[in-house]
């Protein structure tokens, strides 16, 4: 019994318009030659041509992609390794790992970046290296979502039985874990991996604090273009949005496929 309420429909319509309109206008604007009255006067692909011929743009996008993939992979490996110990040998430790992984919800973005900068900016060791700092800060930032994703999936695949079965067949615990359990979780973990990637791809605050001069990402490139024509910035926004769109669509695709494929436990993303 699901009734449609006019107020509800109105709310959804208004919310939809508010969310879609800025995006839509920006995309259309990037194709216009001149838009100073109600409707655009002319259309052009000039700004895309300019943008695509700029090698700086491509290198900054490439840097963004690299820096949003590496930390996510590192975090996944570290969290899976840590949860291996807790699941197999010492389940009591899991709650401490959970606390460590939940802290970045509160100490996020600018607070995390300033605290790391305060601690290590004067260090002569690798800790003082800005790129190393950046990767590690991103790793910490990925912890909450990665931990939730991995832990929920570990319980969904019934890890203990799998390992016992593999041990009966003569595999050691660690081999059983990485050859049997981890491959079962890959598609489940994909969702959290992609979500983290999308978030890192959009980061500007941390990159500006830590490595704005050494490592120019697409977001910094966009920021530096603030004195360019609005069409050009709109074109950059459109391209960056397309990248995020691809990542988000992959999330939806993975979720859809999992839903039809199995009736495993639903992965609930609850906060805190």
């Amino acid at each position: 019994m699901k009734k449609r309420h006019p107020v509800g429909i109105l709310a959804l319509t208004l919310c939809g318009i508010y969310l879609i309109l800025p995006l839509l206008v920006t995309v259309v604007y990037s194709f216009t030659g001149d838009w100073s009255s109600i409707l655009p006067r002319s259309f052009t692909l000039r700004y895309y041509a300019d943008l695509f011929q700029n090698p700086q743009f491509w290198s900054s996008v490439l840097r963004s992609v690299i820096i949003s993939i590496i930390p996510v992979i590192i975090t996944c490996v570290f969290v899976i390794l840590a949860l291996y110990t807790t699941v197999i040998y010492n389940p009591k430790l899991e709650k401490y790992i959970e606390v460590a992984c939940t802290i970045p919800y509160t100490i996020n973005g600018i607070i995390l970046a300033t605290s790391v900068l305060g601690a290590y900016s004067a260090s002569q060791t690798i800790l003082g290296n800005r790129l190393f700092m950046l990767v590690c800060i991103y790793c910490i930032g990925c912890l909450p979502v990665t931990f939730r994703g991995i832990r929920n999936n570990m319980y969904a695949v019934n890890i203990r039985q799998l390992i016992e079965a593999a041990e009966i067949l003569g595999a050691s615990k660690i081999i059983a874990f990485f050859k049997v359990v981890v491959p079962c979780m890959v598609s489940g973990i994909m969702v959290s991996v992609l979500m983290c990637m999308a978030a890192l791809f959009g980061d500007f605050a941390i990159i500006r604090m830590i490595a704005s001069t050494q490592y120019m990402t697409a977001q910094s490139f966009l920021y530096e273009s603030r004195n360019s024509p609005v069409q050009l910035t709109s074109a950059i926004v459109t391209v960056l949005f397309l990248v995020t769109l691809i990542i988000t669509l992959s999330v939806l695709f993975v979720q859809m496929r999992d839903k039809t494929k199995s009736t495993a436990l639903p992965v609930t993303e609850e906060e805190e």
Binding site: I140, Y223, E270
Partner: protein
Amino acid sequence: MSDTAKRTSKIKISPKEIITQYWTLLPFLLLVIMFEMVPLFSMITHSVSKNRGSGLTLENFQEVFSRPIYQTAIRNSLSLTIFSSVLGIFLVFITSMALYRTQNKFKSVYMSMLTLTSNFTGIPLAYSFITILGYTGVFVQIGKQIGLDLLANFDLYTIAGLGFLYIYFQLPMGTLLLLPAFEGIHKEWQESAELMSASPFQFWIKVGVPVMMPSILGTFTMLFANALTAYATPYLLTGASVPILPIKVADLFVGDLRSRPELGSALSLVLLATMLIVIVLSNLVKRAFMKGEK
């Protein structure tokens, strides 16, 4: 197993076994200690140390609370955050309730749209709003042409403009977080309330909202934290003209002026403390509501 057996079994674990069992924890521990614990600790010690020389002091905090620029920043940050999260949670509730009642197909399309726009934040979002509502923005131009003053005189580069923009990134995130909580409202409750001739409004005020309160508060704290630490969007839009806490904190570390990490750490802690206060308060209220359930 008797107590002695337990004890001997504990002693039996050799150092080698400890290593084989626990080495996989090491990388994670190292990361968390070096980039979560140590920095947090150093932020606290920095905030109470003197600008030059050694010794403990509270003068950094004194400066934070007495200099007008930081007072304004704290005030701006608080009003922006409270405005956008209170109005935000209200809009989020209405939107997710309406969405919960729609058919599955429409719901999944709408949710995809929300997921998509929830990633549209930071610098690109700021540019997008400049394109539509900046000084020469499309809608401002249209407002001027058709004589609609509300649009023609819209000033994005003020605290009110920022508030309007903050709602943009609060709505999709909040709705996606709160939507699952509506599953907890059983249809039978609604039907029995109807039988007792309660209006839908009465049902939600007396039953629905209280039952959902823990989720609502959880979503609220996420919105609050999200708005309080927002940096990129206001940095590009208003920069120095509307001082807010995250921008001031960043300026003290990497700004054009001489960097002052001690003062920056103190200001950063104020930001963190504000967030913690809200989290603790919401947990207290949450607990009160959970007690009622039992």
